[in-house]
Subunit: 354 residues, 2 copies
C-alpha cells in the first residue's frame, strides 16, 4: 500500500483537510467540501482523493459517500501533518488549578489526574505509576500502644512507608516488642517477598520463644506489603464518556471496550512512550482485539526513584490527536512536577482498623 515516495503538497493538504474535517464532524468528507478550502475544483480533488485511496490513506464507507481517513491516513497525519496544538491560557490555568490539590497521597493524586484528563478530553482516561524494580523492606518499627495492641511500621526501599495496627488476644510487654523489632530488622530486611519462607518464620519463632504468633503476623504483613508494592494499579475515569461519541453508538462495542478498560491489569500492558513524551497508537496498531478500532494516546512522566508514570486516554480513531496529545502532555508534566518536584516530600499514606 503506502509507498515511500513523498506525497505532493496538494495531496497532503487534501489529506489534512479530510482528517480535520472528519475529526470535527464525524461525517465522510466530500470533494466539494475539500475544494471549498482550496484553489482547485472539486473534480481535481476527486482525482487526488482517488489516488489517496489507492495509497491506502483514505477510504469510502460505501460508493458515493465522501472519504474518511484510514488508520494509515491518521498515522501519516499524526506524524507529518498535524500541527502542535497550543493550549490556551485558560486551559493551562485550569489544569494548574485542578492539579494543585492538597491531596498528597499518590493513589488519590493519580486518580485525580486521570479524572482531569478525562474531563478535558471527553474520553475515558487511565493513569498508573509503575516501579521497574522490586522493592525490599528497609526497616521495621514497632510502636507500643497498650498491653495488647501495637503498631507495626515498615519502610520500603522505594521510600514507601506502610503501617498496620495489630491487636493481640494476649498481653505483650514493651521489651518483647523491642526484641522482636531487633530480630526483624536483622533477618527480614533487604529480602524479596519469596525469601520469607515458612521455615524462616518458624525458626525465628523458635529462636525468639514466640508463642503468640507475633512473628507470623509480622511476617505476613511484610509479605503483603511487598506484594502490594509490586502490583501496580491502573485508575480509570470517565468510562461513560465513550458513549458521547457516535462511533460507540453500538452498545455492544461500547460494552466490550468498557469491560476491557475496567479490567485494570490489562491497561498495564498498553504501549508506553519510549523516547518521545507522548505515544499515539492508532486503531489496528493496537495489539488488543478490543482496541482494533480505537486509539490510545498516552503521556509519560518521571517520578524519580526510577519510577515511571503514565497517563492516557482511549477513544475512537477519529480523535483530535493534536489537542489530546497537548493536554495529556501538559498534565503529565504537571504531575511529574508535583510528585517529584516542588513539594517533594509530602506524599503520605494511610490506614486501618481494629
Amino acid at each position: 500500500m503506502m509507498d515511500n515516495t513523498e506525497l505532493s503538497e496538494r495531496k497532503k493538504k487534501i489529506l489534512r483537510t479530510v482528517v480535520e474535517d472528519y475529526i470535527e464532524t464525524a461525517e465522510p468528507v466530500g470533494s466539494k467540501t475539500v475544494a471549498g478550502e482550496m484553489e482547485v475544483s472539486s473534480a481535481t480533488v476527486r482525482n487526488e482523493m482517488a489516488e489517496l485511496e489507492g495509497l491506502g490513506l483514505l477510504e469510502q464507507p460505501h460508493t458515493s459517500a465522501g472519504r474518511i481517513p484510514t488508520a494509515q491516513g491518521y498515522r501519516l497525519y499524526v506524524n507529518e501533518l498535524m500541527n502542535r496544538h497550543r493550549l490556551s491560557l485558560e486551559e493551562t490555568e485550569e489544569i494548574n488549578r485542578s492539579m494543585k490539590s492538597r491531596l498528597t497521597q499518590l493513589d488519590k493524586l493519580l486518580a485525580d489526574a486521570g479524572q482531569l484528563a478525562s474531563r478535558l478530553t471527553d474520553y475515558p482516561a487511565y493513569s498508573l505509576c509503575a516501579a521497574p524494580e522490586t522493592a525490599t523492606i528497609v526497616r521495621y518499627d514497632l510502636i507500643y500502644v497498650d498491653a495488647n495492641t501495637f503498631i507495626m511500621v515498615v519502610m520500603l526501599s522505594n521510600s514507601t512507608v506502610k503501617n498496620k495496627l495489630v491487636t493481640l488476644p494476649a498481653k505483650i510487654e514493651q521489651e518483647t516488642l523491642q526484641k522482636l523489632s531487633t530480630v526483624f530488622n536483622a533477618s527480614f530486611t533487604k529480602i524479596t517477598e519469596d525469601k520469607i519462607t515458612p521455615s524462616l518464620i518458624s525458626s525465628t519463632e523458635r529462636a525468639l520463644g514466640d508463642k503468640l504468633g507475633l512473628v507470623a503476623v509480622a511476617a505476613g504483613f511484610a509479605i503483603e506489603t511487598l506484594m502490594e508494592a509490586q502490583r501496580t494499579q491502573a485508575y480509570v475515569s470517565g468510562a461513560s464518556h465513550l458513549l458521547l461519541h457516535p462511533e460507540y453508538r453500538d452498545v455492544g462495542k461500547a460494552q466490550r471496550l468498557m469491560d476491557y478498560l475496567s479490567d485494570g491489569t490489562e491497561l498495564l500492558k498498553l504501549p508506553a512512550p519510549e523516547g518521545e513524551s507522548v505515544k499515539i497508537t492508532i486503531g489496528p496498531e493496537n495489539l488488543r482485539e478490543e482496541l482494533q478500532d480505537s486509539s490510545v494516546v498516552v503521556a509519560k512522566y518521571d517520578v524519580g526513584d526510577n519510577m515511571q508514570g503514565l497517563i492516557g486516554v482511549v477513544g475512537p480513531t477519529r480523535m483530535d490527536y493534536s489537542k489530546v496529545a497537548a493536554k495529556l502532555s501538559y498534565i503529565a508534566g504537571s504531575l511529574g512536577r508535583i510528585i517529584s518536584g516542588d513539594n517533594p516530600r509530602q506524599l503520605t499514606d494511610n490506614n486501618k482498623e481494629t
Copy 2:
C-alpha cells in the same frame, strides 16, 4: 390509585406472574401467557388485568401490547408477593471463596466486594463504609530514620493509623523529634480538624523554637488525615454492565446514569436500610432524577466502632429483586464477618514516597 383493600388471591397470582415473566423476558406479558400458568381462560385474565391496571399496578406500553408492572406493581410484589430467593450451594461457595481474599486493607476489600456483587448480579455495584462520628487523633509517634528524614505516625480514635515520610532540607536530631512528639501529643490530640488553627501552630512553633517548619508540616498532615478520615468514599464496579440490559439500549440514558454513578459523592446520599437488612428502592421512589426509572437494592453490614457499611447495586426497575437481595445480603454478611469478626485485627494500611 392503589387502594387499601386486599387484592384477591387470583389478582395476586396474576400480578406475580406478570412481574416474574417480565423480569425474565423484558417483553410485555399478554393474557394468554398468564393464562397458561393458571386454571382460567385468557379472557378472564384480561378482565383481571384491566382491573389491575385500574389500580395502578400494571400498565400497557401501548394499546394492544401486553402488560408490564408499574413501580407500584413492583413495590407490591416486593413487599408481599416475592418469595425469598435461596442461594444455591455453589453460589454461597463462590462468594465465600471470593471473599476469603488475603486482602486486609479496608478499601481494597470494599472495592473487591463491590466487584463481586457486580459480577454476580450483572448490575453495576457500589460499596462504601461510613463512620457516623468525626474522628480525632489519639497519638503521634515520630520515628527517626536519618539526619533529615523521619516517619510520622498518627493513630485516630477510630483505630485507623496513618503515616507519612517527611524529608527535610536541614538536619534534625533525635532529641528534637522527641520534644516535638511530646508537644504534639500534649496539644494536638483529641481535637477536631478545625481546631488546628494557624495561631495554634505559630504559638507552638514559637514555644518550641522551631525554625524548620516542623510544626507546620506535622500539623498539616494531622489536618489532612482528619479530613480524609471524615470523607467517605464510594467504590463503583461494573458500570459497563448497565449496557447489558435492554432498558439502557438508549445510549443517552445509560450515559446519564453512568455519569451519576461515577460521581462517588452522590452515592453516599442514597437511601440506606434502617431496620431491615436490605432496602429496595423502586424507580420513582428514588429522589434523584437520574434514578427515576432505575432501582437500587442495598444491604448494610456492621463493622463495629459505630461504623456502618453499605453494598448495593443499581439496575432497571425490571430487576430480579429476589435474587439480587439474597446475594447482596449474603455478601454483606460475609463482609461484616471478615471486617469485624473472624480475623478482626488484620486490617492495615499503606504508604508513600520521598
